[in-house]
């Protein structure tokens, strides 16, 4: 991991952004966007997760390439699990 020490102001900025996104996602869920409601909720969740991973977990500033490979692999495995399962279940004909 990096020796780089961020300013506390930087962490407060990320914190405020995360809180704002939480309020937005809760508020937007009451608005009828049709199927887009789920998309918006997941996009906001992913932005929040990215903020935490990149800045709180210091991944953006790490020089260690192996760490990044592990993270990308973990996401890829999860994608395989979900995508291949749905490729089966979503194409079945339910009687």
């Amino acid at each position: 991991m990096s020796e780089h020490i961020m300013s506390s102001k930087f962490y407060y900025t990320i914190w405020i952004a995360l809180l704002c996104l939480t309020v937005i996602t809760a508020a937007v869920s009451f608005v009828d966007l049709g199927p887009l409601n789920t998309v918006v909720a997941l996009v906001i969740a992913t932005i929040k997760a990215l903020l935490v991973v990149l800045f709180f977990m210091h991944v953006k500033y790490t020089s260690e390439k192996l760490t990044k490979i592990v993270i990308v692999s973990a996401i890829f495995w999860l994608f395989l699990l979900l995508a291949l399962s749905m490729a089966d279940y979503a194409t079945r004909l339910l009687s």
């Binding site: 997760a49 977990m57 192996l66 973990a74 399962s85």
Partner: protein, 234 residues
Amino acid sequence: MLSDSPIAVEQHGPELLHHFVDAEQQRDAASLGMWLFLATEVMFFGGMFCAYLIYRYWYYNEFAAGSRSLDIWLGTINTAVLICSSLTVALGVRAAQMGKRKLLVILLLLTIVFGFAFLGIKGIEWYDKYKEHHIPGNSFNVDDLIKDYPQIHIDPRHEQIYFSLYFAMTGLHALHMIIGVGIFMFLTYYAWKGRYTPKYYTPVEMGGLYWHFVDIVWIYLFPLLYLIDRKPLR
């Protein structure tokens, strides 16, 4: 032990284990190990997210009705509590990097307080579900949901699947929170003892990675369980 020999102590500080070349290599190894562990955790939770995805695809109405029955206020507050705890963790790692012992102890204690607050609010929510007979089992009953949402077709058996997943997922997450609080108590004790210095604060950093990971799981659980369908019913 080899590291107890005077020569070894002379060559490096007591915090550097003998089989590492230098402190940086030691920290990189710890970090890689922690990220590998978190990758297995992604798959651990991934199995549940996969089950959730399939059943939500099949029984969307029941999932929507179950989601409506959760307390969105408590859910949102709990999300904010966890985000605040992640801030105190990030600031705690920073305090450790700068060698501010007292600040580190305060921030670790604050994290524990936020952790207990989250678990307390979660407990209130679970107790509400208990009172409403929404816990899967013999006394499971969703007549109240069927009455509240006549526009939604609800099959009680499918509704039970939603609540099974709700309790399994939030339960597994809460278990991780309890373990996290335990880890942070351990970290607080040693931080108070002055074990962590700007040269060696790896346990604080690794504990922090775990805590942030558990926060991220909740960041996804919140919209998936609470916000499935909140729009006004026609």
